[in-house]
Symmetry: C2
Subunit: 270 residues, 2 copies
């Protein structure tokens, strides 16, 4: 007899159908953050809900997720709506709610890619192979991080109080256990960085993502070609301004494909 | 007798109250683009609608605007809704509609800033004073551009067919006639760049913003301190990928204040 167990990530974004565009789901302890679940897994669940809609065309091009309030442990509902369907793209809105009210809003653009002149202008950061970089186990009680193999190339989590002049973090990362990369997983990876303000200040302090936008630069076939391999994720802040800082991120395949670029604005208290 | 005439930008984002959170407005010929109005002025009208809501707290922190379909010349409606109000921030959704259906969706975060450790990590591009850089009048029938004084420092609009290895454009820009900078104007400035693919390919081709996200790094007092002066706007693409490219932008005050960072994903055909 063979028993197959679902990957913890698939369990975390597993949706029950409550009618077209309506789903219910449950938080899982594996993806818990300091307060509520990892924001990346909420983004992933929204992408999954749109992918499952019978009227959906194309694949993710853009996703914006707004974190209104912490999702509390337990049940949550996801409603997704195709607001406008054009010839080659489709615009969506989404809302996550719990008994205490709305916790998350989102908009998404799905689209069909076509042959067109293409070029990657950004440069992949230099990094030694992931196998040659030490694996980092993070201090503290952050369960969701255990679902990722993280090999920091630069800007690792500060372990002693020391300010840094740079907010740049670069790491090789993949799901743990290894799982083939898909759009849901890539949406979550965009939020895999610990808050940039920790690095600059050399310590943990209250911080949380307020809004996250990700642009996808590959189709499903190109994404699937990454298999279960590590991706190189890099992020930096441009400005910390009295309670909010931004983060600009890139996610690269090991083969040099720029898979996604992402941005977020983060609340902090210092 | 003195006659005062409203600035064309204020006319373009002038809203009629149709009940709390509901407004009607009209496109104006001054802000017409190739098809429909300049995307920046639609973003500005949404910001203005939220600012006018009686329950609004704080000032813009983040804004995402999705362009579903061209706004056709004439009347349009804007509906804005405060989805969740927290102690120091507030989350909004917005929708622009015309008789033919929804044309624009948006989400916004407004917030209150507080004293906190702050730092600008990005570096302002080197640029000579705007007064020493030639003013560029753009070729072709793009009315909205006449509302801006644009002095290109790098990456001006290609006037002859020649590809460029870089997609970077940097320009000094202000409203024409000069007008004090506010959040509505800054929201529009985030979309002031011509499409990056024109620069790379050395020619115009079909292109249009699909989704635009702007993060604001100043409060209203800091913004007002810019007065009617030029700001330095810079933008570049990271990847052009079979029909969609991204653009990352910064808007700097002449005094070195990073006012906003912005990102968009743009459809193109080549």
């Amino acid at each position: 007899m063979t028993t197959t167990t679902a990957h913890a990530f698939d369990t975390a974004i597993s949706l029950t159908d409550n009618g077209i565009g309506h789903h219910s789901a449950q938080t899982t302890p594996e993806f818990a953050n300091m307060v509520g679940p990892f924001g990346g897994v909420t983004a992933a669940a929204i992408v999954r809900a749109i992918e499952q809609h019978p009227d959906r065309i194309g694949e993710p091009v853009a996703l914006t997720v707004n974190y209104l309030a912490a999702v509390t442990d337990g049940d949550f509902d996801i409603a997704v709506r195709p607001v406008r369907t054009n010839r080659t793209n489709q615009h969506w809105t989404a809302e996550v709610t719990q008994e205490h009210g709305p916790t998350t809003t989102a908009t998404a653009v799905f689209g069909l890619r076509r042959d067109a002149w293409s070029d990657t202008e950004a440069t992949m950061p230099d990094a030694p192979d992931p196998e040659s970089v030490a694996h980092t186990t993070l201090p503290g009680p952050v369960p969701w991080m255990r679902n990722y193999d993280m090999h920091y190339v630069a800007g690792g989590v500060p372990t002693e109080p020391a300010e840094s002049a740079s907010s740049t973090t670069t790491l090789w990362v993949r799901q743990r256990p290894a799982r083939a990369l898909d759009f849901a997983a890539l949406s979550a990876l965009a939020d895999v960085f610990y808050p940039r303000v920790f690095l600059r200040r050399g310590r943990m302090l209250p911080a949380g993502t307020v809004s996250l936008t990700t642009y996808f630069h590959v189709d499903g076939t190109e994404l699937a070609a990454q298999g279960t391999d590590y991706v190189l994720a890099t992020a930096q802040a441009q400005r910390f301004a009295r309670g909010y800082f931004d983060q600009a991120a890139q996610i690269w395949g090991r083969d040099g494909t720029l898979l996604a670029t992402s941005h977020q604005i983060v609340y902090y208290k210092d």
